[in-house]
């Protein structure tokens, strides 16, 4: 009905316009955005006059009294204005292209919003358009490569990515605080990317200090889409695609493996023949191409006094490793109602998800097993309990059949999360407003694992089924009340102030139980047979008093002051309260009179300083407690033991950080070219440092947590944007680049260094080092310098008589020259931090086609590739890289192939056990993260049914340029821990994916 009405009007207008011809004419037309969507409310103005008009709901306008010499300017919020000379045209249709950064754009900040031109801190904004440009499964991914100084690394399907802002300043949890529509939370896992309007990344203390003790690692504020004024809009988005990992490690096939094994003393010829001399490519068996599909439906509506938006999404994703999958059903309802001076509303999201995580056995990843498995073994063997084949003693090795590990039994994690708020606002009087909000962040997580009995060889068997249940819930309720005041005095003095009290209450519980069942594999439930159980719970309370005042003089001189006083139950009485503050200044130079005729549409200098804190130390850390889960069998029962836990520290307090940020924003030629340069220098102090206690004192956790270390972090960020159009061709490019360098300024008194991190494999020494004057967790190990070719070379270093090192072993550099290789010979062998990270985004549209290309990369970082331990370690018989074929071969005490770069097999344990530069590689990469080509169908018969129909094809991670030998240079930190930065333990590689999608607006 509406459609037909539209056409009728257009037709009428066309007819009318045709007849009016005069000296002074009327010009009509339609103003649309780059994709052809009408823009209502755009303004059309004859330069130098007051003659103006604006577009109606369908983007149409009519401007009277136009002379052919008139220059007409078309402008719209968030787009680049265009000026066209009227000439003899009577109809001018204009496409206004979105500007990357607009002066009038409103930016969401802590507890409010601000005009972009008034922002004085470091904020990066990613909008719905950019989010929609790349099909993503988790909202965090929208930030990757788009916000300077923000890094995002994804893991397995359904897992939360590792996100860090401006590098590292702490040794503990380095992930930022997330705020969804004012609700504080820990990640964005339940949120559909389609529901996001904008994401603001707050990077410096002047923008984050209002979050006080939770703001240390930066804050990511997500604002979800709200209903817009106008007729209801129904949209449907969907995509379907496939993802896979194509890269493989080059490992030996059966023939090569049999020869290698024989060289190592194991003749497996007969054993391989038993299975028909087959060749199983175990890596191919664990990788699969996974189907992804996403369906999203939303409806939004708005009037002068209300707005609402409802959405539902189904996401189904098979992982690129067998057995992994993720499914999410998410729903969101956002509503507001205004009744006179009162506005009430709610924003609520509910999501249900099911994750099948990557399974592991014996503390090893599937990839590790796939590398090490004997290639002559078949995957399945119907004669074995469970149906799989694994190694026996006759195989001389004991890697596990990765297909059995992944597929036998099941592991399912079912999560439910509710995140939302209810708020009310009351306009008390001229600019004074009261707001009250209650928000909830609630989740339950049920983790069910079942493994039936199996025996796939003498190395791996289980004579019973095991069931484990993990049951977790957590809730955080935040109640906050604020008064806001906004006024302008004498037209020039703009003042905005806010005062707030925020109270947070969190609680949660964790229950775990497991049992075995010897009777049957049919029941995957708990039974009272060899059962164990435990539970733990927590409570957390936080109280914050918050104030902020923003002042500006005519938008030229800007001042922002904010402060928060925070009390937290996580700390002892001595340090329960902390104060956080910030001051920021800005100068909009472009608004000065002397800049009036310059090319600069924006030129702003910013400076800020402030403090934030980090309360993420876990609950109850300050209090001395006894550990009550010791057990020892006495007289047939488990006698419970109690003893001292870790060394307590009642003076424990939050880590604090003093940020200084300097920024310059610029925009040229009416924001056609925009950019920002930032410099930051952060001094983090009272960093929680696990002061290592001597092992011999027998402290239960080996360390005492003390606020003692200082870390400095500084860096530059650069963002540039350019928009242009040439006829029907419009394009824009944005680029960003960030650097972040950190340095340990001090550790505990008397402690100049300590080793941390996960170590390359269980039981091997860790090598991530903290040392005063060095970056956090740099790689500390032994340098190598070739291979000992003969006994004389060995003796020249160690002298005669020692038996551990022989020809064919690695020549480690004896830094202190004391004729032994030990801990004193370790040195700096790598830095996990890049010199810079960057992102480059190109968007173009030509007629009905649109195009997006997006490149991200890092430069100059080192990766510790722990997979080399399996690929080239040769510590005992396992399958390995084909590189080991060319290893050093020793005959009569002499290396017969002196050009070999790998040591002898089964050599000195230092060859593989020592963290050495053998494992360290350049981790730089450039990756074509996304390339999308879209086509919008309009002006066709489809218009009857859809107001917009766009189809696109998109490919992700299509091309990666890197020298890194591992499967993926985007190495996720283990459990998000800062201390595993840059260590590739064989984790989930990023797949390549190809997607076909459809965006429909009815």
């Amino acid at each position: 009905m509406i459609m037909k009405f539209k056409f009728a009007i257009i037709a009428l207008v066309m007819i009318c316009s045709h007849n009016v011809m005069a000296q002074s004419k009327t010009i009509q037309g339609v103003v649309t955005d780059a994709t052809g969507q009408p823009l209502p409310g755009a303004s059309i103005n004859v330069q130098g006059t007051t003659n103006s008009a604006s577009t109606d709901f369908d983007g149409k306008y009519s401007l009277k009294d136009v002379k052919s010499t008139d220059k007409i300017t078309f402008s719209f919020v968030g787009t680049i204005s265009q000026t066209i000379t009227a000439g003899n045209q009577t109809s001018i249709n204009v496409k206004l292209v979105e500007s990357t950064q607009s002066l009038t754009e409103v930016v969401v900040v802590a507890y409010g919003s601000q005009k972009r031109s008034k922002v004085t801190g470091a904020i990066s904004v990613v909008g719905a358009k950019e989010i929609a440009a790349v099909p993503i499964t988790n909202a965090e991914s929208a930030l990757q490569g788009r916000a300077a100084g923000v890094t995002v690394i994804n893991g397995a399907p359904g897992s939360s990515p590792t996100v860090s802002i401006r590098g590292l300043s702490t040794m503990g949890n380095s992930s930022p605080l997330y705020v969804i529509d004012g609700v504080l939370t820990g990640n964005l896992s339940g949120l559909s990317p389609n529901d996001i309007e904008t994401i603001s990344v707050l990077k410096d203390a002047s923008t984050t200090a209002l979050y006080g003790s939770k703001a240390f690692n930066g804050v990511i504020i997500v604002t979800t889409k709200k209903g817009k004024k106008g007729a209801g809009v129904l949209t449907f988005n969907t995509y379907i695609g496939s993802q896979s990992v194509s890269k493989r490690y080059d490992v030996m096939d059966t023939t090569q493996y049999l020869k290698y094994a024989k060289d190592l003393g194991s003749d497996l010829t007969a054993r391989a023949a038993e299975f028909g001399n087959i060749n199983t490519n175990w890596q191919d068996q664990i990788f699969q191409s996974g189907l992804m599909q996403d369906y999203n439906l939303s409806f939004s509506n708005g009037t002068d006094t209300s707005s609402s938006r409802y959405s539902a999404e189904i996401l189904k994703q098979e992982g690129s490793i067998i057995g992994t999958a993720f499914e999410r059903y998410s729903f969101r309802a956002n509503n507001t109602q205004t009744l006179g001076k009162i506005t009430v509303g709610s924003n609520v999201g509910i999501s249900f998800s099911k994750t099948n995580p990557e399974r592991s056995a014996g503390g090893r990843t599937l990839l590790e097993h796939a590398i090490k498995m004997a290639p002559y073994l078949p995957i399945y063997n119907a004669n074995n309990l469970g149906g799989y084949q694994g190694p026996s003693t006759i195989d001389g090795q004991d890697s596990e059949n990765p297909v059995r590990v992944a597929n036998l039994g099941s592991q399912v994690i079912n999560n439910v999360s509710i995140i939302g708020n209810i708020f009310g606002e009351y306009d008390i009087n001229k600019g004074l407003k009261f707001r009250s909000q209650v928000s909830l962040d609630y989740y339950t997580s049920k983790n069910h694992t079942f493994v039936p009995s199996f025996k796939d060889g003498s190395a791996h068997s289980q004579g019973f089924s095991t069931t484990n249940e993990g049951n977790q819930y957590g809730q955080t309720i935040v109640f906050n009340n604020s008064l806001q005041y906004k006024t302008t005095i004498a037209d020039k003095h703009n003042i905005e102030a806010i005062g707030m009290i925020e109270k947070l209450t969190g609680k949660g519980q964790n229950i775990n139980a497991g049992s075995r069942y010897y009777i049957s594999d049919e029941i995957d439930q708990l039974r009272l047979q060899d059962a164990n159980l435990n539970s733990s719970s927590y409570e957390e309370n936080n109280l914050g008093y918050i104030a902020r005042v923003n002042y500006d003089y005519d938008e030229k001189y800007l001042v922002a002051v904010s402060g928060r006083r925070d009390g937290s139950s996580r700390f002892g009485a001595n340090n329960r309260w902390g104060n956080f503050y910030s001051v920021a200044l800005g100068w909009n130079i472009a608004k000065e009179d002397f800049m009036k005729n310059s090319v600069f549409s924006t030129l702003k200098l910013r400076a800020s300083s402030g403090t934030t804190g980090n309360d993420r130390i876990g609950n109850y850390q300050y209090s001395a407690t006894l550990v009550s889960n010791y057990y020892y069998p006495i007289a047939g029962a488990a006698a419970a033991g109690v003893s001292t836990g870790g060394a307590a520290n009642p003076d424990l307090k939050w880590e604090s950080k003093n940020d200084r940020n300097f920024g310059l924003d610029f925009g040229l030629y009416d924001e056609k070219f925009t950019g920002a340069i930032e410099y930051f220098n952060n001094k983090a102090s009272d960093i929680l440092f696990q002061v290592p206690l001597p092992a011999s004192v027998g402290s239960a956790n080996g360390t005492q947590t003390v606020n003692i270390a200082d870390v400095n972090t500084n860096g530059f960020e650069l963002s540039l944007g350019y928009n242009d159009r040439e006829g029907d061709f419009t394009w824009s490019a944005t680029a960003n680049l960030g650097t972040s360098n950190n340095e340990v300024i001090s550790l505990a008194p008397g402690v100049t260094s300590v080793l941390a991190g996960p170590g390359p494999r269980a039981g091997l020494e860790n090598f991530s080092r903290l040392e005063v004057g060095q970056p956090l967790f740099y790689f500390y190990g032994i340098e190598t310098n070739g291979i000992y070719k003969n006994q004389a070379e060995v003796d020249a270093v160690f002298g005669p008589g020692q038996t551990a090192i022989k020809p064919g072993d690695i020549r480690f550099v004896d830094q202190d020259g004391n004729k032994t290789i030990n801990a004193n010979d370790k040195t700096n062998i790598g830095n996990p931090y890049p010199d810079f990270t960057y992102g480059l985004n190109l968007t173009a549209a030509y007629k009905k086609f649109d195009f997006n290309c997006f490149i991200t990369g890092v430069q100059g970082n080192d990766i510790f590739n722990a997979n080399v331990f399996d690929l080239q370690g040769m510590q005992r018989l396992f399958n390995a890289s084909t590189d080991v074929i060319g290893r050093s071969i020793v005959a009569n005490g002499v290396v017969t192939n002196p050009s070999a770069t790998l040591p002898r097999a089964l050599g000195a344990s230092q060859n593989w056990a020592s963290a050495s530069d053998r494992y360290v590689e350049d981790g730089s990469y450039a990756r074509l993260k996304n390339i999308t080509v879209g086509y919008t169908l309009n002006g066709t018969t489809f218009d009857k049914y859809f107001s917009k129909l766009r189809m696109y094809v998109s490919a992700q991670n299509l091309i990666t340029i890197t020298n890194y030998s591992g499967l993926d240079p985007e190495v996720a930190r283990a459990d998000g821990n800062a201390n595993s930065a840059g260590i590739d333990l064989g984790r989930y590689p990023q797949p390549k994916s190809v997607i076909f999608g459809l965006d429909v607006t009815f």
């Binding site: 109850y620 006495i634 001597p694 004192v697 030990n822």
Partner: protein, 491 residues
């Protein structure tokens, strides 16, 4: 004016709702006990003692590594190809101070010592408890257990590391290394205290340290110190025991705490195994099984096999051979199955034998990572052989008495005893008898060291005299304890 009133009212309302409860910022940890309120009941005192036992079970000790490390160094074991890279160096003496096995051994022991010290630090509180809460006998025995365990852990340490930091109370400050003699003094005093305060075996629960166990270890320590008279005096207090008529009863799950058992390290998989992989040193959680069965079993991981040198030590007709090793033709699985040569095949060819001692094959066809069989770390046969050694060595001893003790052990093995009653012949007999009786029980390496037999017994293995008698202090300690300077000789 009116509006201001409302505003004030509203504001005060908000403050009233929010700020009155700053006391909410005080929260109590619901998951763990508070030290201020502990040591009030018998169960609590007992629990503090129980925790000190738990470190015996760690992977660093009897859960996994101690038997590899010691049986490998003594050359009772040889390694199959699948033997892991951290365990093989103990066969050919190529381990170093970075070894995780050495680190876990060190930490497990010192954690156990610290747990024992937690009890002893609170001795005043425990003794002050009214007798109605805790009887004097119980007070004595709990303190006795703490002393026993502290001494036990220090004994494990001093044999491997020599000079040690001595801790007699809990602290977070690392101590300097005290001379070995001081460590032995503490060990002797602790076992002595334990022997005077612990309950007798007959009155104590299975699994706890007893008066007799304390005497047995007091004897063993003195024997190691070559104080044979003191050793014999202590060992003579180990009464009420006899040898199992069936040797293999010592190594089965069902016959634990039999007449020959003086002290055992306890395992029982039924009590939970969920935390065993994470229990390198910690002792917390459910880690009530040992990996021994799976690791040594020739139908399991078969990481090690009995060396030819050990197998060849057995006399023809020694019944212990068949109870210590499986060979082709051995019956297992409750008599239902017979081992074939294929059961000893490895990728390097067939082995002669596999371990039977501490394996579960007597009742099953396979092993898994959870074995419940306790380690009989002090058997009465060991006591008898130690007594024989004392008699043979001490000034007023008698070779005849020594031979009599040896004969008891050999009789059970079905062997006749014809030993010449000279000191040298009896010593040789003791060397042989301890090697075959206690094979795979982590005593052989200590014996070789204290007898000074490394030059013959460990020849050609990579053992360097003057170096490998002791392990190096692990890196984890030297890097975290500023008071420990240098390392053991030649490390």
């Amino acid at each position: 004016m009116k509006k201001i009133k409302y505003i004030v009212l509203l504001l005060s309302g908000i403050f009233a709702i929010n700020s009155c409860d700053t006391k909410d910022l005080e929260v109590k940890n619901p998951n763990e006990l508070s030290p201020e309120t502990f040591f009030k009941t018998e169960a609590q005192v007992q629990a503090s003692v129980n925790a000190a036992y738990a470190h015996l079970q760690t992977r660093g000790l009897y859960g996994r590594h101690i038997f590899f490390a010691l049986d490998n160094m003594s050359q009772e074991n040889k390694g199959n190809p699948q033997l892991e890279g951290n365990k093989r160096p103990f066969i050919n003496f190529t381990f170093d101070a970075g070894s995780d096995i050495i680190q876990y051994y060190w930490e497990s022991c010192f954690l156990g010592i610290s747990r024992a010290n937690f009890v002893l630090d609170n001795e005043a509180i425990i003794t002050a408890l009214p007798n109605s809460v805790l009887t004097q006998e119980k007070k004595n025995k709990f303190l006795g257990e703490a002393h026993f365990l502290r001494a036990y852990y220090y004994f494990l340490l001093v044999n491997r590391f020599g000079d040690l930091p001595i801790y007699t109370k809990q602290t977070i400050v690392g101590a300097v290394r005290s001379p070995k003699a001081d460590v032995y003094k503490l060990i002797t005093e602790d076992f002595d205290f334990a022997s005077k305060n612990l309950l007798a075996d007959s009155a104590e629960q299975n699994g706890r340290a007893t008066k007799e166990a304390a005497y047995a270890y007091l004897g063993k320590v003195n024997l190691y110190l070559k104080k044979y008279d003191e050793a014999l005096t202590a060992l003579n207090q180990v009464t009420g025991y006899s040898l199992e008529s069936n040797f293999f009863n010592n190594f089965m799950d069902e016959t634990e705490h039999g007449p020959e058992s003086v002290f055992e390290v306890e395992y029982d998989e039924k009590l939970g195994v969920g935390d065993k992989w994470g229990s390198d040193t910690g002792g917390t959680g459910s880690a009530e099984a040992t990996f021994r069965g799976q690791e040594y079993g020739n139908l399991g991981w078969y990481n090690v096999y009995p060396s030819d040198k050990l197998l060849d030590e057995y006399e023809v007709g020694d019944k212990r051979f068949g109870d210590t090793f499986y060979v082709p033709g051995s019956v297992y699985n409750k008599g239902a199955s017979v081992m074939t040569a294929n059961n000893f095949s490895t990728s390097e060819g067939n082995r002669r034998a596999g371990w039977k001692k501490y394996q579960n094959y007597y009742k099953r066809t396979d092993e898994n990572q959870d074995s419940s069989i306790n380690f009989k770390v002090m058997r009465y046969s060991d006591v008898l052989l130690m007594k024989a050694e004392c008699e043979n060595q001490r000034a007023s001893g008698s070779q005849a008495a020594a031979i009599a003790y040896i004969k008891i052990v050999r009789d059970r093995a079905g062997l006749i005893t014809t030993i010449t009653a000279t000191k040298d012949a009896v010593f040789k007999a003791i060397i042989h008898e301890r090697k075959v009786e206690l094979a795979g029980e982590q005593v052989r390496f200590d014996d070789i060291m204290r007898w000074g037999l490394a030059s013959t017994e460990l020849a050609g293995t990579g053992f360097v005299a003057g170096k490998h008698e002791l392990w190096p202090i692990p890196n984890r300690e030297t890097s975290s304890n500023p008071n420990i300077k240098g390392n053991n000789p030649n490390w």
